[in-house]
Each structure stands twice: as C-alpha cells, then as structure tokens.
Symmetry: C2
Subunit: 448 residues, 2 copies
C-alpha cells in the first residue's frame, strides 16, 4: 500500500469546501456526530474480542465487494468529479479524486495485502513470572475507535478502514466534502461487506455532516473516540492538534533537509539531493532544504545547481548559493527566513552553506518539522554525530529522504507518518494502531 | 521506588492553594514559564547525546548531595509545614509533606536505585536490513522535555527528576504551592549536583509562579514541552487533559472493580476483596466497587459483609446487599449511581449483585476509569472471557487490584500509572519516558 504512504499536503481543512450541513444541535437532541461515535464505541467493544479469522473474513468480503460494486462507486464518484470540475478544480486534483474500475480493483488488492499482514492483536509484548508467582503479560489490544480526518483521495477511505479493521478498531471516517459522494458509496460497500461477514456494520462509519462543526464535534468526542489521525495538509493538521481534546497523532508535515558534509562523495551527494527533492516533490518525505558544508561548497554548488536546474528545480539560495548561481549563470532566487520554514511540496528548494556539521544541525533544529533529515558523508564520525544530534523521526545516512515510508521500511502498510514523539514516531503500521493491556494471573495473591 | 508508585488522589489542582505570583505577561516581555521551557529545551538538546555514564554520574552526585544538604532542605520544609499547620491542614497531609533527615536519606537511596536500572536510551527496538540493502534501526531516544504537575509530596520532586535524567530528558517540575519552599530547596540541590557533574543545570527546573496562570502557560508550551504528566487527584488530571495543547499522559485515577464470579473460591474472594479495598484505601489501585454473581450471592454476601465491616469498610450496597445487611445485622448504606462512579479513596466500597459475568463487564465498562479490574473465579473460561472483554489498563485474575504498580510489576521505578491508551498504558517506567528515532544507513541509496 505504498502509494498511500505519503500525503500530498494539499492545504486547507476539509471544511474549507464544506457543504452547509450542520449536525443537529440544541434542544436536547443528540448531535449526529456524537451518536455516530457512540455507535462506533459499541462496535469497538464487539470487535475487540474477535479472533483474527473473523476480522480477516470481513476484509476479504470487502475485497470481493469493491470490484463487484464498482459501477455504483464509479457513478457516485462521477458526481464528485462533476462538482469538482464545475468548481474549477485543477486537473491534477481531479485526477486524484477519480475512481475507475481499475483503480477500485487496485484498492481491493491492497485490502487483500492487509489481510495477509501479521495480526498485531494479542501479541504478548512483555511477559514474566514475578517473584511472588504472579504471571504478568502485556498484550496488544485494539485502540478502540480511531477517527481519521483526511483530504480528497477517496482510496484513503478504504485503506484506513482496512487497517483499522485488521487491528480490531472501529473507524470514523471524515473525508473531504469534495469526495463526499464517493466516500458515501465506498462506506456503503464496506458496511455491507462487514455486516455480511458477521461483524458490526458500525465498525465503519462516515462522520455525518460536511461542516466545520462536525469536525469540531469529532475533536471533542473524548471518551468516545480513542485517537484522531489527521492526514493531509499542514493547516488541517495544525487545526486538529490545537483544538482536539481527543488524543491526536500528528502526521506527515515534512520540511526535510539534506546536509552535504565536508567529507561527502560529491557524485553521491548530487544523486541523493536530486532524488530527495525531485523524485516526487509533492510528498512529505521530499527534501525542502539543502545545507552544504563550506569546505566543499566551491566544488559542490556548481554541480548541484546544474543537477537541480536540470531536474526543473528552482533554488532559493543564501548569498553563497546566489554567488555560485551568478558564476554558473544559473538563476538562484534569494532565500528569506520564510524559505527555511516552508514545506514547498513543489520543484523548489531552499539552499544554504553552513560552516560546520554543528551549524547544519542547529539550522535543522530551528526549522525542521521533525520528519526526515539526511547526511551525505564518507566520515563515520560525522555520520554518528549527525544521527545523534538530529532529533527527527528519521535520519538518513547516505540515502534519500524519500525512504521514510511504511512500505519502504517493510511494514506492509501505513496509516500515516507520525511526526510526534508520543505513541508512534515515523511510519505507522498495524502495531501503532494498538494499545496494550496487562493481564495478571494469580492464585489468590494479595499484597502484603 | 514503590512507595511513590501510587498517588493519593488528593483532589484539587495545585493552583487551588496557589500563591498570587503571576508570570510576567504582556508588553512583549517573555513570560517566565515559557523562558523556563526554552531553557529546558536547550538543556534537553545537550542531554540527548550524552552516554549513560554521564547521566549516571549526575544522579550519583544527586544521591550524594541530598543527605549532605539535608539540613537546608529540612529547614525549608519547616516553612511549608508551618504554613500548612497555620492553614489548618490535617495531620495526615502534614505528614505527607514532611521531610526529615531519614526521609531524605531514603529519597537518596531511591535515586541510587534509579542509577542501577537499565538505560533505555539507545536501545534498538527494531532493526533489519531492507531488501535494497538499507540498514534500518529504530532506536530509543529521550522524549526531550517532560513536564510533571503534581501535588503535595515533595519526594516526587526528586523521584521524577531522577527518572527523567536517567532517561535523558530535561524536566520541568510544577509542584504544589504548599510544598514550594521544600521543592525550591530540593531543586537547588539537584541543579547544583547536576551542574557539578557537568550536565546542564537547566535539565532540572522548577516552574516559576504558584498561580493557575503558570500551569496554563505550561499547558500551552507546545513545541517546547514534549509531554505533560499530571500526577494527583482527578480534578487536576481532568484540567490538564482538557486544557493542554502539549501532549498529556493521563495518570492514576482508579475506580477499580473486583468481580466475584459464580465459580469463585469464596475464601480467596474474601481475601482478595478485603486486600483490594482495605490494604491501602488511599491509592489509585485500591478497589472501589465489588460485583458479585447472583449464583453465589447468598453464600458470599454474609461473609464479605463480615470481612469488610471487620476491616472498617462501609458498604454502599444495591438492594441485594442491603437485604444481606439486614439479615446479617450489618449496616449497608443504599448505593446510588454516584457510588458506582466514585473513587472513594477511603474505607468505603460500592457493592452490587449482577446476574452474569457479562453484566459485570457491562457495569465495569460503564463506570470504570480504566485502571484495574479483578475477577475471582476457578473457571478458566470465565477468566478468559473477563480478561478479553474488560478494556482496562490491567486485568487481574485471582489477584488483588493492588498489584498494578511499577514496583510490583518489576519495572524498578515508576513515574505514574497511565490510564490512557496512547503511548503508555499502565505503570510507566523508564522506557515510557522515551520516544524512538529511525536511523537508516545506506551507501548512496536513492528511490526509484
């Protein structure tokens, strides 16, 4: 499921194009989002004790149903596409929104891949017999109810639901209103398949309402929703992090750096830099800044400029890069502080020369979003200092930043890339969708 | 450090007896709590790359300094005690506040115990060589800056600081204003010792100001403080959970249940019930409700009533328990819904008869704080159903609820008992004070 493993970072909250459908409020009537969350919690209680076979059967039913009902999904998707085109949405975004029979088959294949993954639930993480004879086991259990707030791509609806079901969780899906018809159709298929396999249909629910209020209600559903995972652009994630009382896992904003050390192999450095920046600029693990040690700047900058501009990248450089640009006849846009803090997600890169590895680390600590930083060096001591001093989710030595990805890391699936330090950090696979429980077995043990 | 492993649950936020010392605000002056947090972040950056020997040396210096400077600590503590007595504080609370030379020696001994624990930092949690030859390692790293908000007992100041330093974190300590003089003296000793050992003194700081505002500022220091751990009563914890934008680990509110199954050994059930309730009622892992299967109620209730009242426990019972009380001539207070939801922390227990194990689970799911529940049964199938269906931090089979404790679990130390599902659940030792970082080493690897 690697194609879902990075976000495009399209800015804006889901509510930014929200339909004016507020949940029922006031008058003592239970608001619809809360009612949905209550049903999810009850479904989660039913799911938690089920063995793997029951969960896998439901997922296989989903994988069967998606292609079988592709026509109705494509029809619903056509409504979203028509609305998007009418609203003047750019072609690239319309393409990301589009579902075809082939794409639905690929989504179903991804679900089968999830079925094949090891079951995280029930894994004994830690176990011992205590000195008094008590048998202690720390066992993985589902988190309970997982809320996902995400942007346009409707395939996320199925991917997220599959990962949550596999890990024994109920899921509340809050997709973009621009994909509302597609998501409604997909969730109908998911619910029917899940129910047909004997699991509670409410294990998969779309959060009702396309308004900003419905997101707010979801963010306040503490005690009903166990975790919220926002997937999408920086402003969506910031909103959820700041306003939610439900615990949040912050994902995917990537202001990633490549540091080219004084002792770098320059050919390797050019390759890694260009790959980190330009192999797929729209994703969170692409590089946004290159820092070059002053000791190799004269040799490296001309080559880097040629390679970057050759790959269609605009360099936003400090004075040293600007001078190199002038010498080489390559255009370098003067960089400001805003450039150091920007996740371009485009064919742009900020560029600076630094006097030392420690200065590079200082720059990174100041500006990074904590996603991924890379060093290119032949010096083992420099590599060690860099990996020790940089405090980010992933630190690459002589490798592209683009490798921070659940698929690349061999996790088989990924629900997002956490850039926070609590619970999960980095690509999140199935174990990260679980908690643990201690089961302690005695034979009449009491405490002295 | 088991004596610090459970909280007394004294209600009220630290601010409830706060001194009117607000942080500097407005006018562009940096508020003092924020400035403290900035210094902590810088100290954390210095701490993170240090090897175990450096951190252990600092802790040994602390263990030396505490008894050596006991006189000034005791003198400062006398001020707090005088204020507490003047305010009419009950003797039991004054005792908890009191530091003596002997108690300081015991605190220092606890610090030496922390030194002896395994180092969590640098542990490789996961590692592999990926198919493309990249070497992937997931390594434990300190969280960074840990904020602890806690109530009266000044020994927590040293315990928390020791655990944070051992795990490579800087700590911001926000104790009760009733212990402000003691905490100030203790932190002065800690900082001197830490600095004397060559570590940054700002790795240990008291949060300035005794006002509610200073707690608010701490709770809003997102990006500077990596996690807040509130330790104390339910209202403190609720406030922090609801108002903090810094990630919080919820600790220690325990509305724990003992379920006596139809197939229980009644002698064992009486022992476990009385131990769970009365061995130390003021702590979070003591039982607050007993649920008894209807099939053994006639046999069990009279014996339980005799044992509980013999231990000085007041039973707040449902009609079945009330009838048993009348028959046995034992006083049973009629229970209301409020009793099911109350963490008494006293010699009181709520008591009900339930028609089935599933009904017991239903009652628990409705009312529990998710801390610890116990089943007493000889039936393996019942034990399995109970441990599977109950979704709490710890589930005991034929053992007292009192065993949920880092010391009892063999973790050697504990900074609190998490009752949330993210990051840590249950007693938190040193590993729970860490995050992880992926270090990925290649040889010029780029992504296709």
């Amino acid at each position: 499921m690697t194609r879902t493993s990075t976000e495009d970072g399209t800015p804006g909250t889901p509510a930014s194009s929200g339909t004016p459908h507020a949940p029922t409020a006031g008058g003592g009537a239970e608001p619809s989002v809360t009612a949905t969350a209550v049903r999810a919690r009850d479904a989660a209680a039913e799911l938690a004790p089920l063995p793997r076979t029951a969960r896998d059967a439901a997922l296989l039913a989903v994988a069967e149903a998606l292609p079988a009902r592709a026509a109705e999904i494509v029809a619903a998707n056509a409504d979203d596409i028509a609305r998007a085109r009418a609203a003047g949405t750019p072609d690239s975004l319309v393409d990301r929104l589009t579902l075809t029979t082939e794409r639905i088959a690929a989504i179903a294949a991804d679900v089968r891949d999830v079925v094949a993954l090891p079951d995280p639930v029930g894994e004994v993480v830690r176990g011992s017999t205590l000195p008094n004879g008590l048998e202690l086991r720390q066992v993985r259990v589902p988190l309970g109810v997982v809320g996902i707030i995400y942007e346009a791509r409707p395939n996320v609806t199925v991917d997220a639901a599959a990962l949550c079901l596999k890990s024994g969780n109920a899921v509340l899906l809050r997709g973009s209103s621009s994909a509302y018809a597609s998501n409604t159709a997909l969730v109908a298929v998911l619910r029917d398949a899940v129910a047909g396999a004997g699991l509670p249909a409410d294990a998969v629910q779309l959060v009702p309402g396309g308004s900003r209020e419905s997101v707010k209600e979801l963010m306040r559903a503490r005690g009903l929703v166990d975790v919220l995972i926002p997937r999408g652009g920086a402003s969506l994630i910031r909103t959820v992090v700041e306003e939610s009382t439900v615990p949040v896992i912050e994902t995917g904003v990537g202001n990633c750096h490549v540091y080219v050390d004084e002792h770098a192999d320059l050919d390797m450095a050019v390759d890694i830099l260009v790959n980190s920046k330009a192999q797929r600029p729209s994703v969170c693990n692409s590089a946004e800044t290159v820092l070059v040690h002053a000791g190799i700047a004269d040799a490296f900058l001309p080559r880097a400029l040629a390679a970057l501009t050759g790959a269609g990248v605009t360099v936003h450089g400090d004075p040293a890069w600007q001078r190199a640009g002038t010498t080489a006849g390559a255009a370098v846009v003067p960089a400001t502080d805003e450039d150091w803090g920007t996740e371009y997600l485009s064919y742009d890169i900020a560029a600076a020369v630094v006097p030392s590895l420690e200065a590079a680390v200082g720059h990174i600590r100041r500006w990074t979003s904590g996603h991924t930083e890379a060093i290119v060096t032949r010096d083992a001591s420099a590599a060690r200092r860099f990996t020790t001093l940089v405090d980010s989710t992933a630190v690459m030595v002589n490798a592209s930043t683009r490798f921070t990805d659940g698929g690349q890391f061999g996790f088989g699936a990924e629900i997002g890339i956490s850039t926070q330090k609590l619970h999960a950090r980095g690509p999140m696979g199935l174990p990260e969708l679980t908690s643990t429980k201690y089961v302690v077995t005695g034979d009449g043990h009491v405490r002295d």
